[in-house]
Symmetry: C2
Subunit: 331 residues, 2 copies
Amino acid sequence: MEYTIKDVAKKANVSIATVSRIVNNQTGFSEKTKRKVLDVIEELGYQPNAVARGLINKRTHTIGVLFPKFSGMLVTEFLSGIEKAANEQGSSVIVCHTESNGEKTMKYLQLLNEKRIDGIIFTSEVLKDEYYQYIKKMKVPMVLLSTESYVYPVPYVKVNDRHAAYTATQYLIQKGHKKIAMISGNKDDIIAGKPRIDGYINAMTDNGLPVNDKYIINSKSFAFQDGVEGLEALMRQAPGVTAVFAASDEIAIGALSKAYQLGIKVPDDLSIIGYDNLSIAEMSAPPLTSVAQPLAEMGEMATKMLFEMMETGQSVESRIMPHQIIERNSV
Amino acid sequence: MEYTIKDVAKKANVSIATVSRIVNNQTGFSEKTKRKVLDVIEELGYQPNAVARGLINKRTHTIGVLFPKFSGMLVTEFLSGIEKAANEQGSSVIVCHTESNGEKTMKYLQLLNEKRIDGIIFTSEVLKDEYYQYIKKMKVPMVLLSTESYVYPVPYVKVNDRHAAYTATQYLIQKGHKKIAMISGNKDDIIAGKPRIDGYINAMTDNGLPVNDKYIINSKSFAFQDGVEGLEALMRQAPGVTAVFAASDEIAIGALSKAYQLGIKVPDDLSIIGYDNLSIAEMSAPPLTSVAQPLAEMGEMATKMLFEMMETGQSVESRIMPHQIIERNSV
DNA sequence: GATATTTACGTAAACGTTTACGTAAAAGAG
DNA sequence: CTCTTTTACGTAAACGTTTACGTAAATATC
C-alpha cells in the first residue's frame, strides 16, 4: 500500500502527470491509457496520499470541532450530525475537548492551525476575543453551534433560547398552571442561562401572572444535581407551586428524582417540563415532556454552512432552528 | 499567518535548515542565532505547516477512531479518554461513524489510509476479516476497544464481560435472591451478548440455582425499549422473579420504567441491576445499581497502547480492565 | 495534401518541510 | 603557532502530489 504515483506511472509507461490527470478525472488522455492506468492502480492497490495533496492544494479536507464538555449527551448528537455532513463532503472531523479552558482552547486552535484544517465549528460556549482573533488570523471559516456572538460577525446555528423558554412556560400556562417555578441553569451564562430565564419571565408577565423571585432557583450549572437541589429548595421556599420549568433535561430529571423521593407525584401533584429532549427524557419515569432542539440537524446545518463558506469564501446567514415541545407524561 | 520557514529564514538572515533545526530543538546553532530566529518567529507569528511535516516525516500525529454507533453515551466516555491521551501525545483524533455498515467502514478505512493517519482504534464491534486485512495492508497499528478478536492477533482493551456478568449475578445471590432473571441483549453478539449470558448462567449453576429458560429474555439489542418489553415479557412468563440482571443500563432503565408503570416497587418487590454504569444510572429513580466499566480509562488505555505500538513498532499486551459494582438503590 | 487546430501526453517547478552532506570558522591540543 | 577536532552553519535533495507550459501526434479544414 505504499505505492506512489511514480510507481503507477512507471508500471503503466506514462508520466506521473497523466496518472494525476486520470486520478482526478480531468481531461487530456485517451480512453486506452485511462484503462491501462486504472488497471495498474487496481493491481497495485494505489491510494493517493492526501498529505501530499493537502500540501499542494492547500485543502486538507478536515475540519475541527471544539467542545467545552464531553460529558453530556448533547455532544454525541451534535457530532453525529456534523460527522454525517462532513462525510458527505468527503471531509473528516477532528474533535477537540477544551474543557472551557482558555489555555487549552488556544493550544487546540494552534494545533488545528498547524494541521491546516479547512474550517472550525465552535460549540456551546462563548467565543472569547482571544479565540476570535486567532481564528481570524488563521483565515479559515468558522461557525458557531449552539452559541452565538453578540460582538463578532460569526454565523451561528442555534435555537432561540428565549423563545423556546417562552414556549415551554406558555405550554404550562395553557395547561392551567398559574404557580409556575423555574429551575434555571447558570444565570450568568449569557447564551443558555439568561435568555431562558428571560423567556420564562416574559411568558409569565405576558399572561398576567406574577413573577416571584422565590419561584426562580438559580443553580450553578445545568446538571442533574442542580435539579435535585433545586427542587428541594423550591419546595422549601415556595411549597405552593404546581409546575416547574427546568432549564435542562438533566435538571428536570434531577427534580423528578427528588420529587419521587419526597413522595410528590408527577404529574399529579407537580408538572415538570425539561429542555433539550435528550434521550434520557424518554427513559425517565414518567417520561419527560421537554422542549426539543433538533440537535443532530443543528450539527448538520452548521457543517453545511461551514462548507458553503469554504467554497464561496463568503460568510453565510445564521440559522435559528425550530424548537418543539415533545409531549410526554410529566405535565 | 501564512508565513513559511523561508520567510523566517530570509528575515533572520539564516538558511531554512537552521530555522528547522531551531524549531525542532536539535543542535547545530549558536545561542545568538537561536534568539534571533525565535524573535523573528514570534514577530511573524510563524507556525510550522504540519502537512508538509507529515509528508516528509511520514507521521501525521493523527489517529482514527471508529464507532459503530453515535447514540449511546458510551461514545462520549470513550472519546473523552481517547482524546485526552491523544492530546497528551500531541496527536489529534478523527472520529468515524460506521453505523456498523461494512461498506461505510471500508470507505472510512480508505479515507484514513489516504490521510496517512498513524493508528486506528476500533471500538465496540466485531472486527471483520475485510477490515482486518485492509488495516494490515495499511501497516498502521490498531487496538480494539470494548471488543476483541478471537481470530486475529490484535491487542484489545476490555472488561471481562462474562466475569462481570458473573459478579453481578453473584451479587444478587448474595443479597438473598434465588429467582433471578436476566434480560439479555442480542445473544448472537459474541462480544457483549453471549458472554454476559454465560456469566449469568455460570453464576447460577455455581450457586446451585436452577437455570430456567423462562428466566432469560433475549432482546434484539441493548436499548431502553428492549428493557421495557423485556420486563413485560418476564412478568408474563415468570411472575415469581425477585431480581433481574439487565445486560445494559439502558435495558435496566427500561425495565425500571415498566416496573413503575406496572406498580412494581423497586427494590422492594423487584431488584434490578444494570451494566455499564452510564450517567443515567445515577439519575434514575431509584438510582440504579450497576456494574461499572471504567470507560474513560479504557479509552485512555487503548490510546496509550496504540502510541506504544507506534513507537516500538511492536504489538502490546491486551488489557482486561477491572469492573466494579456500584451500589445504589435498585437492589 | 498542406495548413490549422485539437488532443494527448511529458517535463519540470512548486507546495513547506526535514536532513544528509559539505565546508568554513571556531575551539582545542600540543 | 600549527594541526586537529568540533561547531555552526548552508546547499540541495527528498517527501508525493498538482499544474503551467511545451511539443509531437492526431484530427479537422479547405
